[in-house]
């Protein structure tokens, strides 16, 4: 097996680092991930660090464009600065709990079909307009009215029936179907509240450089088109999320957002000090940053579902649970992790370990090649030509499809390819444009997709595993109708167990969110999505 590994990886990535160092770093990463649940996310700021007032944070967003419309920006990297431009009704802590922000309190009914928010009365938008129930309603209504253009935001909002404003500072959301995920959705910058002047704009005007007015700690001051924009501090900001240590105006004077296209140039800029904070890092840079004395790379996986292969149950072979289990058993995840970057960690369930609802089901993710071969024999798949198993003219040959953002994982996928070859299974893989990928998934023309839903919520599995198993669908519905955290967590564990035992999903490793920053950058507060709130961030002056 070792020989195959070398072959497979040697083809894709000729130069590799020392395995011993990698093992050391991987185990360090594992140890850190173990503590992740208890960590407060304040990496980069020691308990006695004193915030510095003033300064500019230089941030690089991957794939950013001219638009700063938070409702149209669902990508993690684009969200980081926008989180400081708009406030949300509630703040979602990393442990999954919620804290007051624009709403001082809120109530959810028993089946999660009615949410009542009581708003702060002292909040204004940067254009002077007042934040009240009518402004919140207008902000949401603008998204509903634009339908398809905010398809993703509207999907998170769910089956909204109506928004009512019984008093000037009370806003009520009524749903025609339970949506226990709404509180999490409402906490995201995507559903951040914009000023009535912005809500009144047509969609295309919101996409222009400075179209968005929020109530956030920063104001959009200058647009450089596709190249980026500048946010400046709002001096009269007094309504940060409750968990923020800094309850006044932001520490930073400015946030400079630079949409640098190339990952390696951005990484070099971070090393040289031209950037303070960077999103999206190539695996080689990840490994280097992990051992850098000047740069910190976050080691918490992005909350959501673990990375791996999601099976199409309509494909011959994958319709049989024995085959799916065999494929999962044949994956030696330690070997995969050796090829992955130094900070990726082993999966513990169908959720990433950083998801507040994640159970620890590591015992269900095993490697046993002998058992895998036995299961395939039992299922009637016999070795055929070229060593690929066959049955009734069908071959155990599978296609994995993914979007271009997964390309950096290809060397790791090649490891699985060679491991499966040893049990007589062929794997082909390649990236498709997002449009083609979605089309293939809709038409069922694939064997595996790269499962990677990200949302700090129990409901994150539904988008990948919905419609595969009636029992699972029932649990997903129960999750949506259950507003209680502990009860949702129990349901999430049941869902994850079904996904793993039925092997609908073959997890590889947890998705490390590649946010890296210079040690002079301090990010004391992260929300559950692992997006930092930059209102209390600061940069040490040189």
């Amino acid at each position: 097996m070792e020989r195959h590994l070398t072959d497979a990886s040697g083809r894709v990535r000729p130069t590799r680092r020392l395995p011993a160092a990698v093992i050391l770093l991987v185990s360090a990463g594992l140890a850190l991930a173990g503590c992740a649940a208890s960590a407060d996310g304040g990496a980069g700021s020691g308990p006695d660090a004193t915030p510095v007032k003033g300064g500019v944070l230089h941030y690089r967003a991957a794939g950013g464009g001219k638009s700063i419309d938070p409702a149209a920006a669902t990508g993690y990297g684009l969200t980081v600065p926008l989180r400081a431009l708009v406030d949300s009704l509630v703040f979602n802590n990393q442990d999954g709990s919620f804290a007051p922000w624009l709403a001082t309190k809120w109530e959810v009914n028993d089946n999660a079909t009615r949410y009542t928010f009581t708003l702060r009365e002292d909040v204004t938008f940067s254009n002077g307009e007042k934040l009240d129930a009518a402004a919140v309603k207008a902000s949401y209504q603008a998204l509903r009215d634009n339908g398809a253009k905010y398809a993703v935001a509207n999907q998170w909002i769910g089956a909204l029936k109506e928004i009512t404003t019984p008093s000037p500072y009370t806003v009520v959301f009524d749903f025609s179907k339970p949506n226990s995920s709404f509180l999490q959705a409402s906490s995201s910058s995507v559903l951040g509240i914009v000023a009535p002047a912005t809500s009144a704009l047509p969609f295309e005007k919101r996409q222009e450089g400075l179209g968005i007015i929020g109530s956030g700690a920063f104001v959009a001051a200058e647009s450089r088109g596709e190249e980026g924009y500048t946010l400046t501090r709002r001096e009269d900001y007094r309504w940060p999320p409750a968990p923020a240590k800094n309850q006044g105006p932001a520490h930073l004077d400015k946030i400079e957002v630079r949409n640098i296209q190339d990952n390696s140039i951005a990484a070099a800029e971070l090393r040289a000090g031209g950037l303070d904070l960077l999103h999206n890092t190539e695996p080689a840079d990840k490994t280097e940053f992990a051992s850098s004395s000047e740069i910190t790379i976050r080691r918490d996986p992005l909350p959501g579902s673990a990375l791996g292969f999601a099976a199409n149950l309509k494909v011959p072979g994958l319709d049989d649970v024995k085959v799916r289990r065999a494929l999962s058993l044949a994956i030696d995840r330690d070997a995969v992790l050796k090829r992955a970057s130094a900070i990726d960690v082993a999966p513990k369930s169908a959720y990433t370990a950083s998801n507040p609802y994640a159970p620890d089901q590591s015992d269900k993710i095993r490697t046993d090649v002998a058992e895998a071969k036995k299961l395939l024999d039992e299922a009637g798949w016999k070795p055929g030509a070229n060593g690929v198993r066959e049955k009734n003219g069908d071959k155990l040959s599978f296609t994995l499809v993914y979007s271009p953002s997964t390309i950096s994982h290809e060397p790791n996928i090649a490891v699985v390819q060679s491991q499966w070859k040893d049990i007589g299974v062929e794997l082909k893989f390649g990236s498709l444009t997002q449009a083609e990928l979605n089309q293939r998934v809709l038409s069922g023309n694939y064997s595996f997709t790269w499962g990677s839903g990200t949302r700090p919520d129990a409901d994150v599995l539904r988008s990948t595993y919905g419609g595969k198993d009636p029992e699972l669908d029932r649990i997903f519905d129960e999750i949506l109708a259950q507003p209680d955290f502990e009860a949702r967590k129990a349901l999430a564990a049941k869902a994850s167990e079904i996904v793993l035992t039925e092997a609908y999903y073959l997890p590889l490793y947890d998705f490390i969110q590649p946010l890296a920053y210079r040690n002079s950058t301090h990010l004391p507060l992260f929300e559950a999505t692992h997006v930092p709130w930059l209102g209390d961030a600061w940069v040490d002056q040189q």
């Binding site: 999907q155 997002q434 790269w450 990200t454």
Partner: protein, 338 residues
């Protein structure tokens, strides 16, 4: 030698030439538009599918739950292919390129925002690359030292074989990140132009030099340059400069149009490397997003650029070759035969 018959027909001939050229130009733009339109529809997926889902989003989305047909009708993708095509073509005739399927902004506005940047980058690079290309070519054939000549003739081939993005990244590392002389990204101020223009004009110069070197060598081997001119007492440089360069320029002109196209392609890559606002970046983003209207708008602009370059090349022939001014038809035929 009265000259009156030909001069009398000159305005009519000019008018006919201009009309033919215009008709060609319209046909080229129209053909490019139509071909791209139908090619884009063969591509799998559409703008609605392209905007749904990225791996590192902060929230998941469920394809199966979306009413895709409703989304398509909102952005006008639900109509039949023919009605979309007719709508696009009639818009094109009115000078209206439609609106982006993603941001809904008018395509002409989007193009207006990016074109000045790309045109500046392309024009400045071209302005540097032509004289630089000639200089390199002269250096490769004129000096007495064989070492200098072979070195100068090796440089262009070596440079064109390097990928543009690689050279770009190398320049960023060297001159921007390590030395800190120029900004690594952006398009603000003259300083941001230095590195991209250097990469591109070196590329252009190398490509022009390759063609010029080979044609100069041919010219230098012909009787008039190798025997007649030296016999009349002309020096090597005089022969090269006064006699050969003009003749060697014909193959150069012939490939000029193509090379400008390659330069534009290089500009696209360079805009990505240096994170500059420009046509290249708009094109890459729009193709990724299957934003048909924007891609088609860019194709129209590019087709128009090619047409304009070809007109310039034709004018260049006329300026270089006196025969074309006297007997345009026969001279053109002769050129074509050659």
């Amino acid at each position: 030698m009265t000259g009156s018959p030909s001069s009398a027909s000159l305005p009519a001939r000019l008018a006919r030439d201009v009309a033919t050229k215009l008709a060609h130009a319209v046909a080229v733009v129209f053909a490019a538009y139509s071909a791209t339109f139908f090619l884009l529809f063969v591509l799998p997926g559409d703008a609605v599918l392209a905007r749904i889902g990225t791996t590192d989003a902060i929230g998941s989305n469920d394809l199966a739950q979306l009413d895709l047909d409703a989304l398509r009708s909102e952005v006008g993708l639900a109509d039949s292919l023919w009605s979309q095509y007719l709508h696009g073509v009639t818009g094109l005739l009115r000078g209206d390129l439609g609106r982006s399927l993603i941001t809904e902004q008018p395509v002409t506005t989007l193009l207006g925002e990016v074109l000045p940047n790309t045109v500046t980058l392309g024009a400045v690079s071209l302005a540097f690359s032509v004289p630089l290309g000639f200089l390199l070519a002269v250096l490769a054939v004129n000096p007495r030292s064989k070492a200098v000549r072979s070195f100068a003739s090796m440089v262009p081939s070596a440079y064109v074989s390097l990928p543009v993005f690689w050279v770009g990244i190398l320049f960023v590392y060297l001159f921007s990140i390590t030395l800190g002389w120029f900004p690594s990204s952006g398009s603000r101020g003259a300083a941001s132009l230095v590195l991209p223009v250097t990469v591109l004009s070196l590329l252009g110069a190398a490509q022009f030099a390759q063609v010029l070197i080979s044609s100069l060598r041919t010219e230098l081997g012909t009787t008039y340059a190798a025997v007649t001119a030296p016999a009349k007492g002309a020096g090597r440089f005089h022969t090269l400069y006064r006699h050969c360069l003009r003749n060697a320029s014909f193959p150069f002109l012939a490939v000029f149009g193509l090379r400008v196209g390659q330069l534009l392609g290089g500009a696209v890559v360079i805009e990505m490397v240096f994170s500059r606002v420009g046509l290249g970046r708009l094109m890459v983003d729009s193709v990724k997003a299957v934003d048909l209207t924007v891609v088609l708008g860019i194709v129209v602009v590019l087709a128009a650029v090619y047409v304009a370059i070809n007109v310039l090349v034709d004018i260049g022939y006329v300026l270089l070759d006196p025969r074309l001014r006297r007997h345009p038809a026969s001279a053109t035929r002769k050129e074509a035969d050659a």
